[in-house]
Symmetry: C2
Subunit: 201 residues, 2 copies
DNA sequence: CGGAGCCGATGACAGATGTCATGGGTTCGC
DNA sequence: GCGAACCCATGACATCTGTCATCGGCTCCG
């Protein structure tokens, strides 16, 4: 009884290495590979695997949408692999139906076991991130504040942010000010950094 | 005739996957693994491998120092693997004696061949990065300007930067202004981003 | 209904930031 | 010796940013 896998990661070297790692297991076989979120969905539809292993960071866009789509349309369980394991992202991943959440700090030897567990109907979530997600304060920012902070993340001036979010410059500064106060950040860069680290943006 | 390798990457999953990938080759054997730059040097000294494969991004510090040390002290050729292949970093890597420079966008199947080439005394440099490095403008920033831009990269206020670099606040602003003018950046965040993307900081 | 919270905006103000001119110090190469 | 380039600093100025008070409109809940 082999488990048929689809594997997606935008970095060829990593994807190939993971394929080699999983190929060492007698009961795992990689039947399809993809280098982007869109391609991952297409390959999954074509191959109808028993399980999909997706990297979360696959520009453009993230693997979360692909994970949700693969789970919703095909009923295929998804294991997400991520470099930056942020609490908020775990929350959204679980909401999207993801069955496994594995940071890249996980020992390589455990990945196959995790895949078997998820294939067997169980879930796997990295204990550290789970703890962080359970103890975290919920995001204190309003949707609009999140928009503005997101737009401010690249260090753009207020006028640019205002244009991007279709708001008056003064309103943007108000939202930024509110977000900085809520996050205890001295400036918008720090606020954006904090929000990102928590997985809120 | 097998090639004995030491492999270093801070992410366990990636390191293990790369080990699996390389282990598929009959003539390659991974004799030591490390999860940090310092550990990489120690393991290399203990194992005296034929070649070392190091990830460039290994906080704290980067793999460049470890690569230079392994090359200088042991005469072991080093292949650097990196996620963000920036022209300036390639320049510094070659100056440090690195023999192979491989971005993670390289197809996995080629890594073994690259290792054999480097072990055979040749060099390997990713063609795209090499082209970028050859056509790039040289860094226009003075050493002091680089210091200040580096300190400004995290979005710290001027006073903090001044304290970190032991300069008067006004001087910091002058350096930042000069750097922004040279890089064509509208503010210091953009300047820091540009400098980073070019591999100058 | 009334309050609370979010949304969008304005105006005023202090402080931070970016620009410019200018100065004196050093080192280096011609 | 002289100019060029870098280093460090100051002062003045315009702009940007962050804070605060205040406004009206909206929705949702008790």
């Amino acid at each position: 009884m082999t488990i048929r896998l689809v594997l997606a990661d935008d970095e060829d070297l990593i994807r190939g290495a993971l394929a080699a790692l999983l190929g060492l297991e007698d009961d795992l076989v990689v039947v399809g590979e993809a280098a982007s979120a869109a391609e991952a969905v297409a390959v999954a539809c074509a191959e109808r695997p028993d399980l999909a292993v997706l990297d979360l960071e696959m520009p453009p866009g993230d693997g979360l949408g692909a994970a949700a789509e693969i789970h919703a349309r095909l009923g295929v369980p998804v294991v997400l692999v991520t470099r930056h394991a942020r609490p908020g992202v775990l929350r959204r991943a679980l909401a999207a139906g993801v069955r496994g959440f594995v940071p890249k700090t996980t020992p390589a030897a455990r990945l196959a076991a995790i895949i078997r567990e998820v294939h067997g109907g169980r879930r796997y979530v990295d204990p550290d991130i789970a703890a962080a997600a359970l103890t975290e304060r919920p995001c204190p920012l309003t949707p609009r504040e999140l928009d503005v902070v997101r737009a401010a993340a690249r260090g753009a001036p207020v006028a640019e942010i205002a244009a991007a979010v279709h708001l008056a410059p003064g309103t943007v500064r108000n939202y930024l000010s509110a977000a900085m106060a809520k996050l205890g950040a001295p400036n918008r860069q720090a606020a954006a950094r904090t929000a990102w680290e928590q997985g809120w943006i």
